[in-house]
């Protein structure tokens, strides 16, 4: 039986099935945002379009998201090197930066409201809320994932021979960071 399993494993593709599933999930998220951003482009090219400044806060949150990705990577490296206490610290730092990103987005929304750009109104404004909101929702799920990994780290379950979880978490987190960079650039350029 063991032999059979080994044989089966030998013959197939070498990616861990869970990680592979994670990548497929990322594909669906990419498609979701591809749809939303192309809707934005289509709408912008046809019709009444409101011009306004993007909140300054978006520049700051973009910075935060980059720092957060760096922390995530440090956590991953420490896991590889089996530095248990460092894993915990970096993971917590990632969570903290993640949460501050979300808070930052909320502040950005407030900035928009003060500017007179509301969720209900011209689609130009609504799109900014929707894009950042849907991204924020995914980021929130990323934070939950991070917390799960962090709890595992406190139970000594994350180390160099058990990397799958933290690898998946890192992949997702970097993806979400990259996604925000894309959205930020997209909004800045198509304005």
């Amino acid at each position: 039986m063991e032999m059979a399993m080994n044989k089966t494993k030998e013959s197939s593709f070498r990616m861990h099935p869970q990680k592979f599933a994670m990548w497929l999930f990322i594909v669906t998220v990419v498609m979701l945002f591809a749809a939303l951003t192309s809707a934005y482009v289509v709408k912008q090219s046809s019709g009444v379009w409101l011009d306004f400044d993007l909140p300054f806060m978006f520049d700051i949150t973009t910075g935060i998201v980059i720092v957060s990705s760096v922390f995530m990577h440090m956590a991953y490296l420490s896991a590889k090197r089996n530095e248990v206490s460092k894993i915990r610290i970096y993971l917590l730092l990632t969570v903290l930066t993640g949460i501050s990103f979300l808070v930052g987005q909320l502040i950005a929304w407030q900035e928009l409201v003060q500017e007179g750009v509301f969720f209900v109104g011209n689609p130009a404004g609504s799109f900014v809320y929707v894009l950042s909101g849907v991204h924020g929702f995914h980021l929130l799920s990323g934070v939950v994932f991070l917390l799960i990994v962090a709890v595992a780290a406190f139970k000594y379950k994350v180390h160099s021979t058990s990397l799958v979880r933290i690898e998946m978490c890192a992949t997702y987190w970097h993806f979400l960071g990259g996604l925000w960079l894309y959205l930020y650039l997209f909004l800045t350029l198509n304005h």
Binding site: A4, S11, S12, P17, L24, V27, K43, G47
Partner: protein
């Protein structure tokens, strides 16, 4: 998209102790089962349930169309207030009926019922895997579908009625309860239900793809995979890429409906007041919707085409003609399906230049479809054909696919579409090419794999009767609709009595309705056969159709883990039927080339030298 955190169970550990049976309790074995075979059957039963509901709805509106003067008072116990005082169907409820018929058939029967059943059931069995990559995700996929089903079912019974703006839910009609009462709570439930449905599809699709890529048995290279698996694989990819777009479309619609944003709404005066929305575009929704919607019709038909390839080859006792061309055309259809969506929108006032681009792309997609049909026909040539019930339905599928396919050439031509758009011609077209074909594929699959699902055979004689009644019935229902369409009759009309131009064809409409009722009735023969054979059918042999694929190497009723011992190794493609030199007219995939020196082709003899058995 709501589901981000899905904890995968550890597949590898899980599979390592497969040969001792799992003795769970009833709940874990039959309800919250993680076994792909049980989940496949659950999808099948749910699909059959929805097919009866969806078919039943169509019978009700066919009564209205065929017998506009009939007193339908006797439906009052069922429909209650939707029957007016004069014994007629309420005009708004009529629209709800067509909407729900479309939604149920497209999503719940032909997507979940067909793809869900056979992808789940066949993928691990045909590629030689113990189970899906993640049994838990698979179970979740079914239960999200179930939740979505329950919500959609409830929406049929609310007082304002279910969604009634057409299954394509174009705003503003679907966004404004003032415009049609079904756009109130009914539409909300529709959207909620679809969110769960999409979650279910994505979970399923992720699972199918990762199973096919990661868990093939030794020797099962991509070029040795049965065409069923290729079809399921490409279908899952299409779903993964297109369903998120529907999420985006629905999300913006939800915001428009519930929060007052203006993505799709602009310049509307309704119910005596001007709405504040401005700057939106209803056409934007149509673009997003059809970006899913068009691949969706291929999500429906491709599994059926895969199933048919397998059945036609087995029962002609011949290899499928042009195995690579079959894969290539599936891929071609899959890729092209993403760049043709705007042919649903030729008359929305979109730029004529875009119209011509989409016309050209649309007609290109006819080429791979034609290749598939020709290849099926050539597979029959010089075969030794056994007409099992499954084979009959597969030949029926080819016929329907051609009949419905050729009318696509009219509709894809934007100049002709100006006249034919949204007429009964369209109804005839897609009911043949996508509705009936996919349905035939599903039924063929059930007849063919029933012995593996339930360990017993279905009654063949009843199968023949079921086929001939259904085949003739389907043609009698949908073929006349072409004439009605060419006469310019618009679809989704409650009755045609208000127009001089549409005063004719009452006789043909009545004929279609009678045919529809008979065809629907004939399906009960199938239902009887299905449930009766489950308990009283003849016990199946291990390989009743003398087929080559891996699922027939499992025990009569495969247990958890599918194969009691080692998973068999694959040495050859699945279509070695009637190979010259071979004693038997089929050589299963598990037979090495070294064992069949008498029938090996030159390049296979080469391969035999490198085989380690």
């Amino acid at each position: 998209m709501a589901v981000t955190e899905v904890q995968l169970d550890e597949h590898v550990e899980h599979a390592a102790h497969d040969d001792h049976e799992h003795h769970g309790n009833f709940v874990t074995n039959y309800i919250f089962s993680q076994d792909h075979k049980v989940i496949g059957k659950q999808f099948l039963i749910a699909g059959i349930f929805w097919a009866i509901i969806g078919g039943g709805l169509s019978i009700i509106f066919r009564l209205q169309l065929g017998f506009p003067d009939m007193n339908l008072e006797w439906l009052r116990p069922l429909l209650g207030g939707w029957i007016t005082e004069s014994g007629k169907i309420d005009t708004e409820f009529y629209l709800a009926l067509v909407t729900m018929h479309g939604t149920i058939m497209v999503f719940f029967v032909l997507t979940a019922g067909l793809s869900g059943t056979f992808s789940n059931f066949l993928i691990p069995l045909q590629i030689g895997a113990r189970d899906m990559a993640s049994g838990f995700m698979n179970m979740l996929s079914f239960w999200f579908f179930m939740l979505s089903s329950v919500i959609m079912f409830i929406s049929l019974f609310i007082s304002t009625g279910p969604a009634a703006g057409g299954w394509t839910i174009y705003p503003p009609l679907s966004a404004l309860p003032q415009a049609i009462s079904g756009s109130g709570l009914g539409m909300t439930l529709w959207l909620v239900s679809m969110v769960f449905f999409i979650a279910s599809q994505l979970l399923g699709g992720i699972n199918y793809i990762s199973t096919i890529i990661n868990l093939r048995t030794k020797g099962m290279s991509f070029t040795k995979m049965p065409l069923t698996i290729w079809a399921f694989f490409l279908t899952a990819i299409l779903g993964l890429l297109s369903f998120p777009v529907l999420v985006a479309a629905a999300l913006l619609l939800v915001f428009d409906r519930s929060f007052g944003t203006s993505f799709y709404l602009s310049d509307i005066f309704i119910g005596g007041e001007a709405l504040p929305n401005s700057g939106g575009s209803p056409i934007l929704f149509q673009h997003l919707f059809w970006f899913l919607g068009h691949p969706e019709v291929y999500i429906i038909i491709m599994p059926a085409l895969g199933i048919t390839s397998e059945i036609i080859s087995t029962n002609s006792r011949k290899p499928i003609f042009g195995y690579r061309a079959m894969i290539g055309s599936l891929m071609g259809i899959g890729i092209l399906s993403f760049v043709v969506w705007a042919h649903h929108m030729f008359v929305t006032g979109m730029s004529p230049f875009l119209g011509s681009i989409f016309m050209i792309l649309t007609l290109i997609i006819a080429v791979p479809s034609a290749i598939k049909s020709f290849n099926y026909i050539t597979t029959l040539w010089q075969g030794n054909i056994r007409f099992t019930s499954a084979m009959l339905f597969s030949i029926g599928l080819v016929s329907l696919f051609i009949s419905g396919g050729v009318t696509g050439i009219f509709l894809g031509n934007s100049a002709l579409d100006i006249f034919l758009h949204d007429t009964y011609f369209v109804v005839a077209h897609f009911h043949l090419v996508m509705g009936s074909s996919a349905f035939f594929g599903m039924v063929a699959g059930i007849y063919h794999w029933y012995p593996k699902m339930f360990g017993r055979m279905m009654d063949e004689k009843l199968g023949y009767i079921h086929f001939w009644l259904t085949f003739i019935g389907v043609y009698l229902v949908f073929f006349p609709l072409h004439y009605i369409g060419i006469a310019g009759f618009p679809r989704r009309y409650y009755s045609f009595t208000n127009f001089d131009a549409f005063s004719d064809f009452a006789d043909l409409n009545m004929f279609v309705s009678v045919a529809a009722i008979c065809t629907f009735g004939a399906q009960f023969i199938f239902l009887f056969n299905f449930f009766y054979s489950m308990y009283r059918g003849k016990k199946a042999s291990l390989n009743p159709w003398d087929s080559n694929t891996l699922e027939w190497t499992t025990p009569r009723e495969p247990g958890h883990g599918n194969w009691p011992g080692e998973i068999p190794t694959v040495y050859r493609w699945p279509y070695d039927y009637s190979k010259p030199g071979s004693e038997s007219d089929f050589i299963p995939q598990t037979v090495p080339y070294t064992n069949t020196p008498e029938s090996n082709l030159p390049h296979e003899a080469e391969e035999a030298k490198n085989e380690k058995v």
